[in-house]
Symmetry: C2
Subunit: 525 residues, 2 copies
């Protein structure tokens, strides 16, 4: 019987338990794991050239595959580089088995240059942290980490792997192919009494508003919410940013809550009963002087139908069966907008996407200030998924697209990216090319941190004009995204009119492999 080292034990255990992909940017302390990946054919290794690409890809993979990938990162600095998109993944409730290599325990007291406090950095993610102490414990720690990652609603389980545990031999390979048992805990059901109480609320009020999100942003949840609306007159909103929103023709379409507090309070105006399912009670994304943090109208009563991590779809369905037993969901018909003409603007670019979105697309939305028209423009397009940036940390779009494309190789992936965001994780383009992924990146280039100009005006951040503030301006030099993409091996083109975008988008979708279109749009006035 073959003897495995710790690295092989770890990866074989995860592979046998169904983890199919390892996204990695490894270093010396991870090399035995890199070697071990050669021996675990059921696990695909995907290289990123920056750790934020790795962690963002793992998030995108989890959202589409519905199960965790592994990451493999190099010590504290590698985890640091990956932390921003792990933050986003945590906010998306994506399960990830986050493997970080470390020095051997005996080496750490010598404080070598790369000694770093991995555990403290990982603790900021609030997920479980494990560190196998010897090769015999690796497999069980791997199973435990995977089980913890799958804990509803999904979390980031970090496994710190000392190099000497990776390289130590000692585990007999189990020849009989039996799979270790990962007990994914079922999503906890909502107490039927809660559903009944909220049914009473809905029956007793004609000013109810339902805010849904999380797992309820998928078809079954949307349909149940639509039935509830039909049966009770309740208004329904989607949370602002969903991990995975099913959208398009054949599905109910709801307005998303806005980004700014005044927008949300306007949307919820008049609501006497605010009910949430699968998403927290609305709060302001950022704080502003003299504006509230909690975005519920004064005097409204609040009700939680399903906490994040509870079975929101089941609760909504049960609620619909109580309050609207005979109602069907109201779904959007196929209804694409006409192709627009003329310069690209905040109105025309999403219209082009809505007019041309291919079947079964996965749309990654990191458009920030440029994407306000997207949801409306795509509501009648063929059914698709929209992955939003749930944690608000910029630079996840192109990595998310990698993970989504690897989870669903037969689906076209469209990454809609604000220019400022795209820069953080630019080398995602290389991985897209290296893996020949069917991703069309559309960079909305307004040559500014336009969202910060907007925020400046909401905040009253200074006496000067944010449009002339040098720290919010991405000109001088203008960034050439076409050149960047080509340099990473991704075919690219530039569009300044709706016609050009339509022509280039159609071509990019038709050709296999990644493409990038730089869509030059005007700065926000």
């Amino acid at each position: 019987m073959a003897v495995l080292n710790g690295a092989e034990s770890l990866l074989r255990t995860l592979g046998d338990a169904g983890v199919e992909v390892c996204f990695t940017n490894p270093g010396t302390t991870e090399l035995h794991l890199v070697g071990a990946l050669d021996t675990v054919p059921q696990m695909r290794a995907v290289l990123g050239l920056f750790e934020g690409v790795v962690t963002g890809a793992a998030d995108g993979y989890a959202r589409i595959a519905g199960k965790p990938a592994a990451t493999l990162l190099h010590l504290g600095p590698g985890l640091g580089h990956g932390l921003s998109n792990l933050h986003n993944a945590r906010r998306a409730n994506s399960p990830i088995v986050n493997i970080v290599g470390d020095h051997p325990r005996y080496h750490k007291p010598y404080d070598p240059p790369l000694e770093s406090d991995i555990e403290t950095v990982a603790r900021s993610l609030r997920g479980p942290i494990r560190r196998p102490e010897n090769v015999a414990g690796v497999s069980q720690d791997a199973i435990s980490a995977l089980t913890e990652a799958l804990e509803p609603p999904g979390q980031i389980a970090t496994l710190i792997m000392p190099a000497d545990v990776s390289w130590a031999d000692g585990v007999a390979a189990d020849g009989n192919g039996s799979r270790p048992t990962v007990l994914a805990r079922p999503v906890p059901a909502v107490n039927p009494a809660v559903v009944e109480r909220i049914a009473e609320v809905l029956r007793g009020s004609d000013d109810s508003t339902l805010v849904i999100g999380g797992t309820a942003a998928r078809a079954a949840g949307l349909c149940a919410a639509s039935r509830i609306a039909a049966g009770t007159g309740a208004r329904v909103f989607l949370e602002t940013y969903s991990s995975r929103l099913e959208h398009g023709a054949g599905l109910p379409s709801f307005q998303r809550l806005g980004f700014y507090p005044d927008q949300v309070l306007r949307q919820l105006e008049g609501a006497r009963q605010v009910i949430v399912a699968g998403t927290p009670m609305p709060v302001a994304f950022f704080a502003y002087p003299d504006q509230p943090s909690r975005l519920v109208p004064d005097g409204a009563q609040t009700h939680i139908l399903a906490e994040v991590g509870q079975d929101a779809v089941g609760a909504l369905t049960a609620l619909a069966d109580l309050v609207a037993p005979d109602r069907e969901p109201e779904v959007t018909g196929p209804n694409r907008p006409a192709l627009p003409a003329g310069p690209l603007t905040l109105e025309t670019w999403p219209t082009v996407i809505g007019a041309l979105l291919p079947e079964h697309a996965i749309v990654v939305d990191e458009t920030i200030s440029s994407g306000t028209g997207l949801i409306t423009a795509t509501a009648g397009a063929p059914r698709h998924d929209i992955l939003a940036m749930c944690g608000g940390a910029m630079g996840e779009g192109m990595p998310l697209a990698i993970g989504a494309a690897i989870a669903a190789p037969d689906r076209p992936v469209i990454a809609l990216e604000a220019d400022g965001c795209a820069i953080y994780t630019l080398s995602a383009l290389w991985t897209q090319a290296h893996e020949n992924l069917n991703i069309t990146n559309v960079i909305l280039n307004n040559r500014s941190y336009a969202i910060l100009r907007e925020e400046w005006q909401h905040l009253g951040a200074g006496a000067s004009d944010p449009h002339t503030n040098r720290l919010l301006d991405l000109t001088g030099p203008d960034i050439d995204f076409v050149g960047l993409a080509r340099a990473f091996g991704v075919p690219a083109s530039r569009a300044t009119t709706a016609e050009e975008l339509a022509e280039q988008f159609t071509r990019a979708i038709a050709e296999p492999g990644p493409h990038l279109i730089e869509a030059v749009i005007p700065p926000i006035a």
Copy 2:
């Protein structure tokens, strides 16, 4: 008298106390600080498009200016992106006032999407952390953070700035221009008894080896060490990676300790007394099976002349005065290598640099496996500084160059970069162009993680051949660094021969502003 808000109070205090530069990639929670930068003319604001550029630049600035810059980062995710180069800065003992914006305290309990555990992430850096609670306390916290940053040998003081403290008014601007007092503690002197004891050691042994580093890697320390060698026969080595090494004609030149344990043990072979000054006792950068962590020959006695953070130059000078009162340092004469011809190799490319290095250059060395010939090739070049990557976290070179160029605008800065390293912080090129900095970036492109192939062989990391391992290979597609640079507004060219590199390097140095040369070198065999 004008009234300042917290943001203005913070930046004005730091500016008045001598902090001249703020490197930043801000977000919404930092916008009042962005606005305040408009009102503090003595502080230059430099935009990075990724936080690793910001923190690496602050490190480079501190190494050349000898005093801290401020950074300004966005919440936990921004700090996360900046963490790797803050790790490097910590290992370089660079002082930095690391400002991180946060939500108002009242907003945090609502757990908005960007709520993050900034303090825990910062704690991994082991420096002090402050969080002003109200506008009245901002100025004192700023002074305290600056004082702490300057604590020998220099540290990273993090100041978490809640947005509501930034935007609150309430501090009367002091009209009389008095500067707040920053009491930089003098570097503690070494006890003369220690110096005398080590003088006795040197007098009593003919197998002594002195390892110097830190502040002792500059002219005065090198000269004192050379005198000690001349007077006692002791051998002298430099630490492997120095924060700032003064090098070139007119200075003593010492061999650096190697990267691998076996190299160091070979260098130190026969030493019965190992004395360190300004650097820790040699330890292995990474651990390897069956190799020691502590790199001191068996049976050797060890002595600390000066701890890191003590006055190593003073101690070496005092020691030289005791054991070599009449000796002069042995310095390298001006002696440039001849310009080589033919293909670029690991031998020819550093020779071109040595032959052509301009006067007063600052050389950033992130060449990793490609740079072994550099120190020898430049030993007789005009006197220059070499900034190495002290923490081992890749991706600091081009940001370090930004900071160095801003600290010393009249000096040419040469960033020597391994291809794999350059990718992590690629958008540093945009900042170089935006600020029109005199930086010549030379990318040593061997189209692989060559260092990991080397390490694989040292570790025995797997049965397969690391030269065919897909995770260590940066081809398919080849990365076009010339295209990347031009897309960020930096003029660029490609060299495959020594003649081409010489011609392009000469031109890049002669022209103002940044340049990039992609030097294509063979993969390591």
